[in-house]
Amino acid sequence: MENILNQYETVNSDEVKVWFKAGKIADFPSNGGGCIKYKNKQIAIIKFDRRNEWYACQNLCPHKMEMVLSRGMIGSADDIPKIACPMHKKTFSLVDGSNLNGDDLKIATYPVKIVENEVFVGFLE
């Protein structure tokens, strides 16, 4: 299981090597997430209409290792945009992936850019 988790590491926008076309804007639900497949990774893409922002993070919840984060509910805590896992309601910052319930668990985040009508996620390879 460790190796599945280790596939996911945060990518900063200035180090992106590959911009992967994840789909069209309309493919993602309003104020919610969808999951895309890139190579052997599953990435949750969040369309945060209320803030007019896009986020991406690993789809794997590090708590019980289920591929479910994209099905979680988004929101904010003290103005930090966040996502809550649907399994046990662990919440993670969409900005830096840190856990907002105070445990060590952390998720990887990825940069997103919108070009015309299309959504791109940035990876290192």
Partner: protein
Amino acid sequence: MIKVIVVGNGMVGYKFCEKFIAKSGHEEYQITVFGEEPRRAYDRVHLSEYFAGKSADDLSLSTSNWYEENNIILNTSELITDINREQKTIHTHLEKTHTYDYLVLATGSAAFVPPIEGVEKEGVFVYRTIEDLDAIMAYAKKIKRNGATEAAVLGGGLLGLEAAKAVYDLGLNPHVVEFAPRLMPRQLDKGASDMLQSKIEELNISIHLNKSTQYIAGEHAITGMMFEGDDLLKVDMLVISAGIKPRDELGRVSGLEVGVRGGIVVNNQMQSSDPYIYAIGEVALYNHMIYGLVAPGYEMADVAAEQILKGAKTMRDTIDMSTQLKLIGVEVASFGDPFIENEEVTAIVYENKLSGIYKRINVTKDSKTLLGGILVGDSSDYNALFQIYSNAMPLPKNPEDLILGSRGGEAASFGSAMDLPDTAVICSCENVTKGAICCSIVDETCATFGDVVKHTKATTGCGGCKPMVVDLVKATQKSLGKEVKDVICEHFAYNRQELYDIIKINKFTSHDEVLGVVGKGDGCEVCKPLISSIFSSIYNDTANKHVTAQDSNDRFLANIQRNGTYSVVPRIAGGEITADKLIVIGEVAKEYNLYTKITGGQRIDLFGAQLNDLPKIWKILIDNGFESGHAYGKSLRTVKSCVGNAWCRYGMDESAGFAIELENRYKGLRSPHKIKGGVSACIRECAEARGKDFGLIAVEGGWNLYICGNGGANPKHAVLLAEQIDRETCIKYLDRFLMFYIRTAGPLVRTSTWLEKLEGGLDYLKEVVINDSLGIVEALETEMQGLVDTFECEWKQAIEDPEMMKRFSHFTNSDEADDNIAFVSLRDQKMPKPW
């Protein structure tokens, strides 16, 4: 370990254990309790509620594992027959011997049976234990069948009137027979007794005062009571409740000092004449008196526990016998010295025969001190008067204002509970002072009324002090500048009920509107599903609307399981299903390789479906006449039923049909938490209806409607809302009850917790639902009917709309299923592969 043996498992014996284990140093002691009754300690004060439908379990003071959890050994149905004081051992009727270091006698009292000729006849009972009540009930039923209507109660005191209420509840005409010239001779004067008598007689309860019973008439069974002067009262049953007699047999056989008229003599440390043997409660003779009230018994328990643990607390010299209660629906209270009359004292009396109110206060001639008083018909002044009396507080210029209210435009005589001294005892059952209550809030041990109750135990005895405790909590919070409010989350400064009203009044229909106008931020996993649920309750929006603001299960109309797969639960109303439909479920399970299990709600759960397969599975089910079972929603789950009188030889009504009707009526109803129902066709209760949020049990003459029960972590039996009502009335009351719950409960609060927190409790709820005290039942019924009429199966909606279907795929950029999901085999089926 030092061994403490407690003989007697009544209210006082139980209190001793409770007090003991709460004190420091108790770990070095092993407590063993012996009770001769077959059950755990129960609330004898509220015994008459047993007739009004409470079960023995409802009356129990503790949960079944309380003793075990606290390392106390409880032996029920075991009677102690002897004490060997030299060897410090006791002997039981099972021929067992146990040694003790300290012995606590809490054997209580037995009913006093006056030596009247014929008391041994059939149909003569005492009123003391649950077994007595069972025997009375059985006999009443038998004689009623033979046409008997009249029953007598011997004793017009507090217990006698309680017993009369019990006889009344059994459907017989009670005759209260009292030797003294007035009712409750220890608490009431003649004027008060007359007022009480006229109130009670309105209910067709006859009162016979000044009656000395010569003998009980009848051959084998009682047929009447013969009074002095050849005066015969024809009755077919007699309940004796004429006082108590201490159960001091053990004291007598072991040579402890015993009073002339009974009772084990104790000092102010609750020690008997043997320093290793303590006596508490109604068996103890303290200051030449037996105290038949709960509060002094509890205090004795505390003193004995403290003394055994080498503490210093002793019993007070004078014990207050003030009491406030409701007898046969009439409020009665007396405090201090109710009768005192001499040159130093003036009695001020107010009597209103029209409204049935009698009030008396005894005041010193200088109008400075309140010495005691009596209240009948309206005891709302009791708490204030009792505090003034017990704290010797100064009286208003015109002491009569205390019972008449201020009439000169001046401020009321007794301002707020906050004016009391810190030493004032607010809860006399648990001996909790004003200081203790206020301090617990000031030092932040407690934040709410509920915390204070838990922490101090105030209000847990008779409950009479509850209004004062509530006032104290509120006033203290206010003085600290705290406005305590249970808000939903950081995005809304409202509780659920307020938000419900706001959304309804403003006709908000979208999350952005609600957040934008009355909230802040972007919402979260707490407030979003709550608002979606409120939209459902008001507009009947299904979970196909506001999709990303639904709880994760609602979003995909299925229950997410351990590995991210889902389970599928079609509705099987009332648990009734045809062979053809069973075959459909079997075929679906086979085709999609699903793990199947029968649920506790009498339906079938299919586990292990991948998100992509959900619509295909549901299409087959819906094409074959199934509907969503809403197993994923905070909504009505199932109405469980027994098979009913269509098949069962005991059934008294058609329970399965009624359950199906109810389940179909309330299906899809979104609510603060899940709701479950049950319908049983007889009191054998095979549907476990009393473990549900609402339950119906068929009885002679209709249905009994129970509400607010649940299983789960804190099981609660449902309580009786109405009895012997027809199907139509059941539905009417259920509509009102459920809608009222939906409107007012907090998020994720089940009905039982909601009722617990509802101010005024069950009585208040009855007023709202049955007597329409808020004038809202019509609106509640209309709202419910609106929801029933506009029901739509949300799975049918979803599979018929390609837009809605889009969400049921794991990837947005691929049609593949999640290839991380793996299963292993489990007893011929499958389960998620553990990581």
